[in-house]
């Protein structure tokens, strides 16, 4: 069964460093998303991406964040200068197949630890 994959599974970085989280969405999906979950809290939407551009972003997704689909398969989230409060689990998701256009499938997540 097709699935969303994410790398790395765990990333440790120092405050102020740039990180890039990578995702490979399900191949025939059209919509791509990033979410984050701070430990013990609910999952929060960051950004959605369709047709090579951002379709919506939350208040969390400020100028420190950017997304890119550099080729036909990868979808990346970049944090330019990490802060302690960026420590969280980051989930990539994808959706977009005919009548189940909005059913989102999530990857296993990347646990980001900022020290």
């Amino acid at each position: 069964e097709p699935e969303v994959t994410q790398t790395p599974s765990h990333q440790v970085t120092q405050m102020g460093q740039e990180v890039i989280l990578r995702c490979v969405p399900i191949s025939n999906h059209l919509y791509f998303y990033w979410y984050r979950q701070i430990l013990g809290q609910k999952v929060e939407f960051l950004v959605s991406f369709y047709n090579n551009e951002i379709s919506e972003k939350s208040e969390i997704f400020d100028d420190q964040f950017s997304v890119e689909r550099p080729d036909g398969s990868n979808f990346t989230l970049k944090i330019r200068s990490t802060k302690l409060e960026d420590s969280a689990m980051y989930f990539c998701a994808s959706s977009g197949v005919w009548e189940r256009l909005y059913e989102q499938y999530f990857g296993p997540g990347t646990r980001l630890t900022v020290t």
């Binding site: 609910k42 939407f45 959605s48 998701a93 909005y102 059913e103 989102q104 296993p108 997540g109």
Partner: protein, 109 residues
């Protein structure tokens, strides 16, 4: 945007018991999903259920869209059912999922 409220926040069961988890949402939805977050943090799709009833093994879900709620039923619970159950509905634009705070289920043997 939509508000998603889940209840109860915590649930402790003995193996073999049945349970019902509830999700209320503040506006009409065209997409409602239930997820199970396992102890490793993975979000597992359980149901895509904007309306009606679906069953998958010991789990079933019902969404009554006109009354803005959805229920997740777990029958004959097992220890592997432990984890956090989230429901999520779409934002106003339909471009994102808004999650509830989850129900933490602990099943003991």
């Amino acid at each position: 945007g939509i508000q998603v409220e889940q209840s109860p926040p915590d649930l402790i069961l003995q193996e073999g018991a049945n349970s019902t988890l509830r999700c209320n949402f503040s506006d009409s939805v065209n997409n409602l999903q239930w997820f199970h977050q396992n102890p490793w943090g993975q979000l597992i799709n359980l149901f895509y259920i904007p309306s009606g009833t679906k069953q998958n093994g010991r789990l079933s879900a019902t969404t009554v869209a006109t009354e803005r709620y959805s229920l997740l039923y777990i029958s004959s619970s097992q220890t592997t059912d432990s984890g956090v159950y989230f429901c999520a509905g779409p934002n106003q634009a339909g471009t994102a999922l808004i999650f509830g705070k989850g129900t933490t289920l602990s099943v003991s043997s």
